[in-house]
């Protein structure tokens, strides 16, 4: 497969310089390098600038409502575990309105990859505060500065029991591509937080460029949970890479009784209810 096999040919409408371009390319390349066929992949996208990615990724897609990427993706994966399911959410989508689903997807360990385009701002609605906007930043909804301490998504994912926790940077496409590949290969819930500058409403490009470094460069054992917790709290510099990784049974496995074939591939037939009816006699 080539990268362009995953290109719908539509021209992205993101602002020039937007970090979403880097993510788009990283994902296309990852899919191509994994040798996946477009029809066996489903992306689920939230509402926001990030969500446009389903117009540009030539795979199956569900552009869902704001904040519900995880339940949608979970339903898809359970119905047909043979599909490769990837969720794309924004920081507003994932950490504001949709936050209630994240810890559950993590502990449930459903085998999907969840890529959060974290630009620390609501892009599509023209620049309001999100849960990851730094303290004090002025936005349209915080004209006197954000009064809320930002959320630490990595720490939250770790605390929730996620089995694969990584951070990427849209400005390092090759590295991000590798993370996406690892995330897709990981059997279980893969959480990838991507630092993605929004050049129009919160341009963090320069600062991120300076602060970001690859975990591999300083050495880190991704099976070390304590170390992952510590690294996730680092603020002076921002490590990118796989913070933590562990194998655990996936949620689909709990439904082995329903997977032969899975619901989506089942031939319709009248069920035999006679045994069930016994209890009503």
């Amino acid at each position: 497969m080539e990268e362009r096999a995953f290109d719908t040919g539509r021209r992205p409408v993101w602002c020039p310089g937007c970090g979403n371009y880097g993510i788009l390319i990283a994902v296309r390349r990852a899919l191509a390098e994994l040798g996946l066929r477009p029809e066996e992949v489903v992306v689920v996208t939230g509402i926001g600038c990030h969500g446009r990615i389903s117009d540009y990724l030539k795979v199956n897609a569900f552009h869902t409502i704001h904040g519900r990427v995880l339940p949608l993706a979970t339903g898809i994966k359970l119905a047909n575990p043979r599909l490769t399911v990837i969720g794309h959410a924004g920081d507003g989508d994932a950490y504001a309105i949709g936050l209630g689903h994240l810890p559950h997807a993590a502990r449930r360990n459903v085998d999907i990859t969840y890529i959060v385009h974290d630009n620390m701002v609501f892009g599509l609605t023209t620049g309001q505060v999100t849960p990851t906007t730094p303290l004090g930043v002025r936005t349209k909804s915080t004209p006197f500065g954000n009064p809320e301490r930002p959320l630490n998504p990595l720490l939250l994912a770790l605390a929730s029991g996620a089995t694969f926790v990584a951070r990427g940077f849209s400005g390092d496409v090759e590295h991000l591509k590798e993370l996406v590949k690892q995330g897709i290969r990981h059997k279980g819930f893969a959480f990838i937080e991507v630092l993605q500058p929004c050049v129009t409403f919160f341009n963090t490009y320069k600062e991120l460029k300076e602060k970001v470094y690859r975990l591999e460069d300083e050495g880190h054992d991704p099976t070390d949970f304590e170390a992952a917790l510590r690294l996730a709290q680092r603020e002076d510099r921002l490590p990118i890479g796989v913070f933590y990784k562990v194998e655990r049974p996936t949620f689909e496995e709990a439904f082995a009784h329903a997977m032969n074939p899975p619901p989506a591939l089942r031939r319709l037939a009248p069920p035999d209810l006679s045994r069930l009816l016994e209890s009503f006699r």
Partner: protein, 563 residues
């Protein structure tokens, strides 16, 4: 008492086995060839509240609902005796343990707790003894009783203990035959019949309709659907589970349906409220989905364990924007089964959300029901990838229905989009396309409307007065019909789209009364809107209880008398 009917009220504190006893009594009566109805009332408490269950049985005619009559009260504690004795008629009797008895001449004190103690049973088993007494007194069949009791318990030991307790009670009861306000007249038959509650029937219907994915967050009175399906999921090889919220449940179900599962969810009003946004998502993406709403009284938390029909307008109009949907309301378990299956098939045929509107009274009452007809899932408008033009998920067609393919189909990409989109699913704001898409979605409505007209209205009896109802209230009115002449009952089964022509035709020039388990007359408002007709009378009840047939009779007679 007339025609051998018997009305038994079991009452006691939560945890004392009131419902189990009522089901045992109902099943014994069913096995003895009776038509049976069982209903109950309880507060939203785990312990401490009083609850009751009424068993009605007739040897000769279907029992549609409760009545106010009580022949025998089985009181499981003194509180139950005190708070229910007022419901007994003159010739009725109350059975209770000696320690709970009062001086009322109708009270029969029994050594029930002593029997339990002698047999080494737990205190809670006193109900089994009293059920035994009941059948001894009424002239029931001991073996049938013991058989039913045994099957109620999983552990063999406990089953045998309870069978013994029932037998000892039975012998005590034999001595009371003189005091019995009724006598059982066993008839044959009943072998094929089921004692079925609305929730289980609905669940069976969903299964018959091909259900393979069910997600629900518990909410009284819909939770038993989840419990039932969770229990049988391995037998049927389907996915059943409880996610973190109703938001998650419906979105997972939509995801599953998009992927190709036959999916449904069930909840009550508060949970339905949380599903409203996703309902619109299902509509916009044309993802088939069945949503069951088992109503309880609102607004808000309201009365979790009581009954109402207050959500009709809500479910018809829920979610922003305009889209076609189907709303079906069964009145009894048989219809719950049929409409559960029908809902699945309609959703997959038209790719619209289908809502099944139940209520607590239907969901948690039991009716003896003839063997369920075999029903089957229909593939609907699914497209499994047989060649032709390039696949477009939202192909504009004459019927408005576009073939639905599932991701994974070779050579096909499926793009579902909650934003307004073109035929391929790509977002658009082009006014022509937008309009065409909106019209495409609504084009389905003409076929759906035809189905509504052909099967959306049922009638019973005839006369110069028409009574319109929907849902479980239909059963109450059917019961009332026994004492009414010149009345035609018009049950609206499809509430949306409203079968306006059939309804108008069936009602004709009759004077129209509407009876509903709500305050404002929601069916009445639909009749005004769709038939441009003001009903001549409205009877509503909104205290959390189903209507009594007696008040319906009174209302209709009063109306007829006024001319």
């Amino acid at each position: 008492m007339d025609s051998g009917e018997v009305y038994v009220l079991v009452a006691g504190p939560a945890g004392a086995g009131v419902f189990a006893s009522s089901v045992i009594i109902g099943k014994v009566l069913l096995r003895q060839g009776y038509h049976v109805f069982v209903t109950n009332e309880y507060p939203s408490l785990i312990r401490g509240g009083q609850q009751w269950a009424l068993v009605v049985a007739s040897p000769s005619r279907p029992v549609y609902s409760h009545r106010r009559r009580v022949d025998v009260l089985v009181a499981l504690d003194r509180g139950a005796l005190l708070s229910n004795i007022g419901r007994l008629h003159e010739r009725a009797v109350a059975l209770c343990d000696a320690a709970d008895a009062t001086g009322d001449p109708r009270v029969i004190a029994l050594p029930a707790r002593d029997v339990v103690r002698e047999e080494g049973g737990p205190p809670v088993a006193v109900n089994t003894v009293l059920v035994g007494v009941l059948f001894g007194m009424l002239g029931g069949d001991l073996e049938t009783l013991k058989g039913v009791v045994r099957r109620q318990f999983r552990s063999r030991e406990v089953a045998e203990l309870n069978a013994r307790l029932a037998e000892r009670g039975f012998h005590l009861g034999l001595q009371l035959q003189g005091k019995a306000p009724a006598r059982l007249a066993p008839r044959g038959g009943g072998g094929d019949e089921l004692l079925l509650d609305g929730n289980s029937a609905l669940a069976l219907g969903l299964l018959a309709g091909g259900l393979t994915f069910f997600a629900a967050y518990p909410m009284t009175p819909a939770s038993p659907i989840l419990h039932f399906l969770a229990e049988v999921q391995r037998d049927l090889g389907i996915i059943v589970f409880q996610p973190e919220s109703e938001l998650a449940a419906i979105n997972m179900a939509i995801g599953a349906a998009y992927a190709g599962a036959r999916a449904a969810v069930a909840t009550s009003g508060g949970g339905f409220s949380l599903m409203v946004e996703a309902l619109g998502q299902a509509a916009m993406t044309e993802t088939p989905i069945v949503v069951v709403n088992v109503q309880r009284p609102g607004p808000s938390t309201g009365m979790p364990t009581h009954t109402a029909q207050g959500d009709l307008r809500f479910v018809i109009h829920a979610s922003q924007g305009e889209f076609p949907r189907i709303v079906l309301a069964p009145s009894n378990p048989r219809e719950a089964y049929e409409l559960g299956c029908r809902a699945m098939n309609l959703a997959w045929k038209y790719q619209v959300p289908v809502i099944v509107l139940m209520d607590k009274f239907l969901a948690e009452s039991y009716w003896s029901t003839e063997a369920l007809p075999p029903l089957r899932p229909e593939e609907g408008s699914v497209w499994r990838g047989e060649g032709g033009e390039p696949y477009a998920r939202y192909r504009i067609t004459d019927t408005g229905v576009s073939p639905i393919a599932f991701p994974g189909t070779p050579g096909v990409l499926v793009y579902a989009n909650t934003s307004e989109h073109d035929e391929y699913g790509f977002g658009t704001i082009d006014p022509k396309t937008v309009r065409a898409m909106q019209e495409k979605r609504f084009r389905k409505l003409s076929a759906i409307q035809r189905e509504a007209e052909s099967e959306g209205v049922k009638t019973y009896g005839d006369g110069a007065i028409a009574i319109a109802t929907w849902g479980s209230t239909t059963m109450v009115v059917r019961e009332a019909l026994r004492e009414l002449e010149g009345v035609k009952l018009v049950q609206v089964v499809w509430l949306e789209p409203f079968p306006r022509e059939s309804f108008a035709r069936e009602v004709g020039a009759r004077r129209l009364l509407i009876v509903e388990n709500n305050m404002r007359g929601q069916l009445a408002s639909l009749v005004r809107e769709h038939v441009l007709r003001e009903p001549e009378g409205f009877l509503g009840r909104y205290d959390g209880r189903p209507l009594d047939p007696e008040e319906v009779v009174e209302f209709v007679k009063g109306f007829a008398a006024r001319g």
